[in-house]
């Protein structure tokens, strides 16, 4: 039997089609695509972004050196990822909230977390997770992707309370493989929650490269399965990140967006890691040319908005702030009683007994 040629066309209908755009505005030479320049951004704000990115890098170097001197515990550096973090944090409106993983130090910085609190975390104290309300953020989360369902719930509560608040949730490229990631996106899609899920794709999950994390060409396209908007952006371009996140925040009242920021982990995974074991140093060199801070400096210099003198003064000022915060954090003396007093909202007698026993017997001196 000869089938008519239109047979398939009638029975097979394409029911879904998707595409992912990649956006860049500021290139490696510091030149800008003016047609895409976001409204609400001006050179003054770009200068501010530059200062924050530089501050974040200085802070990062400090944490690294503290760890090397035994003055901090294992630390996860952010170097290379400043544009993704600063661009997204600066796109937040005053009341917006954020949920980080363990690497978003620059987001805290932009949102005004007192640095001594951040240092307390990296010195190994719970007091470092006590994020003041006005920061609008939640504490670092270590179990990969487990923060994503929280973000969905936080977004749910905003909608429930009829607040125009967007919730930015950060996750790594590796984190997109966890069930929690998919479940959270799907939940946010179904309830049209004001969530902005940000994949900080730094190309590596410890030793596992992006190519081995997923067979998908982009991580952004994972949004399609959840029925939510998705886009990819040059994560080393602070202007493009700012634009894309601002738009997602503006749209948040209508539902979530998934944004993949393509960036690079220029350093080790954490201070416990040795990337020479698994990563070709030539790859790092390629990304050095795409440095997120260099290109903003080039942009500002071309416009005569930046100079070596300003750079020097900024560096000194930032180091002073950092050193003061370190001194405050190092003056902190832990009180073991606080471990017992914060387990429940009440004190069970059996726990009080354990505490009394520790005090009476001087166990903490042992």
């Amino acid at each position: 039997m000869i089938l008519p040629i239109w047979y398939g066309a009638f029975l097979i209908k394409r029911v879904f089609q998707g595409a992912v755009d990649n956006i860049q505005i500021l290139d490696e030479n510091g030149d800008i695509d003016a047609s895409l320049f976001p409204s609400g951004l001006d050179d003054k704000k770009i200068l501010e972004m530059y200062r924050y990115m530089s501050f974040a890098r200085a802070l990062d170097a400090k944490c690294l050196s503290l760890q090397r001197q035994g003055r901090a515990v294992t630390y996860a550096p952010l170097i290379g990822e400043e544009a993704t973090q600063v661009g997204s944090a600066m796109a937040m409106r005053a009341g917006d909230l954020f949920v980080p993983n363990f690497r978003q130090h620059a987001v805290y910085l932009v949102r005004g977390l007192p640095l001594e609190i951040m240092f307390l975390y990296w010195r190994g104290f719970e007091e470092g997770a006590a994020i003041p309300k006005e920061v609008g953020g939640f504490p670092y989360i270590v179990p990969v992707s487990s923060q994503m369902p929280h973000a969905a719930g936080i977004a749910f509560a905003q909608k429930y309370n009829k607040k125009d608040v967007a919730v930015l949730a950060y996750v790594g490229d590796g984190g997109t493989s966890e069930g929690d990631f998919y479940e959270a996106l799907n939940f946010a899609g179904v309830f049209k929650l004001p969530m902005v899920a940000i994949i900080e794709n730094n190309q590596w999950a410890i030793s596992v490269p992006r190519s081995k994390q997923s067979a998908a060409e982009t991580l952004a396209q994972k949004g399609f399965a959840a029925g939510i908007r998705c886009v990819q952006v040059d994560g080393n371009d602070v202007i493009a990140v700012y634009k894309v996140i601002s738009e997602a925040i503006a749209n948040a009242k209508d539902g979530p967006t998934l944004i993949e920021c393509v960036t690079y982990r220029m350093s080790m995974h954490t201070t416990a890691d040795d990337p020479t074991k698994y990563r070709d140093p030539a790859e790092v060199e390629i990304w050095k040319a795409r440095d997120p801070i260099d290109r903003v400096r080039k942009y500002l210099s071309k416009k005569a908005l930046w100079s070596l003198e300003l750079e020097k003064a900024m560096g000194e000022e930032q180091l002073k702030i950092i050193d003061e915060a370190v001194a405050k954090a190092e003056a902190f003396k832990p009180d073991p009683k606080s471990m017992f007093e914060n387990v429940y909202g009440y004190m069970p007698q059996v726990l009080q007994d354990e505490l009394d026993d520790s005090v009476a017997n001087n166990f903490w001196q042992g």
Binding site: R123, E178, G179, S207, V208, K277, M339, V350, S358
Partner: protein, 321 residues
């Protein structure tokens, strides 16, 4: 060969892979990187990417896929990078690994060895220092092992890979590189479900395992105690007989573990002693554990984990009753 615990585990895996093609390793960063503790170092280079696999970052599928592999003729050894993250795949262990045999009347078996680092004392970030042995033991159906020496680590691992059951192999990070020990080059098994009487004495019994063994030994030596020291090695199933034999001899027992005290392994051990030997005791059963709440941040861990002073005071109290 004289090796530390990480090398002993590496060697056991190497021998098991050479012995049986069914043995495959999978987990996060276990291939090229050799695992974050280097327990699988060199094995991918030796056996190839087809047998030593870096997986996507997803514990539930690491454990769930291992169950599937195990039911299909392979003998997988999934590594979960830290015990805290095994909870992301807890459902696979509790709902499936623990039950597949019983719910199919042994028609289906799940031979696999789930390796994960446990315990603290090494200044890690949150979620990297948990002691979850009671959690897995409570389920039933999972064999739960904790070695305290390189010799036992190798022998228990090889034994686990010769069994047809899911074994939760918990490796105390603090012991990975703490000391070296002379162990045989070749394959040998250490019996699972059998405690090791590491010291013999008459005045009291100390039941312990894992990181606390060295703390207990230190106290026994310092105080010059005449004590039976039992290293459980297997938490589930408990070697009840060795515990009771010793307790009946000494009449006094102290249980020491790093896991939190409340609802910890010590409660199960104490209950069995109380049920079966209470009239042979001449003092109440005593327990020492970490405090009854989750593992704190590293800046507080020294206030949380039992130290020699805490064990020593418990011994004093026990001997004075």
């Amino acid at each position: 060969m004289k090796v530390n615990m990480v090398s002993a585990i590496n060697n056991a895996l190497d021998l098991a892979m050479a012995e049986k093609e069914e043995v495959v390793l999978l987990g996060e960063d276990i291939g090229k990187d050799g695992g974050v503790f280097r327990a699988t170092d060199g094995l991918q280079a030796k056996y190839g990417e087809g047998r030593v696999m870096d997986t996507p970052l997803a514990e539930s599928v690491i454990l769930g896929a291992s169950i599937g592999m195990a039911m299909s003729g392979l003998h997988p050894v999934p590594e979960i990078q830290f015990a805290g993250f095994m909870l992301m795949g807890f459902g696979q262990l509790a709902n499936h690994a623990a039950r597949y045999r019983s719910r199919t009347r042994s028609k289906f078996e799940v031979p696999m060895v789930v390796r994960t680092p446990i315990s603290g004392g090494v200044r890690t970030l949150e979620h990297h220092s948990d002691s979850p042995e009671a959690l897995y033991s409570h389920l039933g159906g999972l064999t739960v092992v904790i070695p305290a020496t390189p010799y036992d680590a190798k022998g228990l691992m090889i034994k686990a890979l010769h069994m047809r059951d899911p074994v939760i192999f918990l490796e105390p990070t603090k012991l990975y590189r703490l000391f070296k020990q002379e162990i045989p080059d070749e394959m040998y098994e250490v019996e699972i479900g059998k405690a090791n009487l590491v010291k013999e004495g008459n005045d009291l019994t100390i039941v312990t395992y894992g990181t606390m063994l060295s703390v207990v030994n230190e106290v026994v030596e310092k105080k010059n105690l005449s004590a039976d020291v039992l290293d459980l090695r297997t938490i589930n199933p408990l070697d009840e007989k060795s515990i009771l034999d010793s307790v009946k001899k000494t009449g006094k027992v102290l249980i020491v573990h790093e896991a939190p005290l409340g609802f910890g392994p010590g409660a199960e051990i104490a209950a069995r002693i109380a049920e079966k030997a209470i009239f042979e005791l001449d003092a109440p059963i005593m327990r020492v554990g970490s405090n009854s709440f989750p593992y704190p941040f590293p800046g507080y861990e020294n206030y949380y984990i039992p130290n020699a002073l805490k064990v020593s005071k418990a011994v004093d109290k026990l001997l004075s009753t």
